[in-house]
Symmetry: C2
Subunit: 80 residues, 2 copies
């Protein structure tokens, strides 16, 4: 199975990398930018016997390692 | 408008960060992992007068700044 995991900073958490990209886009002539937030995108190939188990497994991965749940939120999609 | 941009390494490009996460997940007990690839996920808030213009604008951002098209591919979705 293939899981696509999206991890982003929670609302209100400062995102200096996003601010830097926002500024750089402005310098390049993109003047209508209101905000940029940067997160992580992971593609995980793994084996699971059922969709339900796959969901639980990916959720455990996010909670234990992939996301820092104090400042980040995650969502994921699983393709069989 | 809000654009969600996904940037990932092209097939065949070495991804040491992904390998590190794959190894760490193995250590944590996730034994069925076959591979992990890590990319970037950006949310961009911006103004555009039409969907067509928005598409062109985000494509230009990706080509000019956000993605290194030599080693990375990008895709994006735009929400009004």
């Amino acid at each position: 199975m293939k899981a696509k995991v999206y991890i982003s900073l929670k609302e209100g958490i400062l995102d200096p990398q996003g601010k830097a990209v926002e500024h750089a886009l402005g310098v390049l002539g993109f003047k209508t930018i209101r905000g940029v937030r940067i997160g992580k995108y992971l593609e995980i190939d793994f084996d699971a016997t059922s969709m339900e188990k796959a969901n639980k497994e990916v959720e455990a991965m996010c909670e234990k390692l992939l996301a820092n749940t104090v400042i980040e939120t995650y969502r994921f999609e699983i393709e069989p």
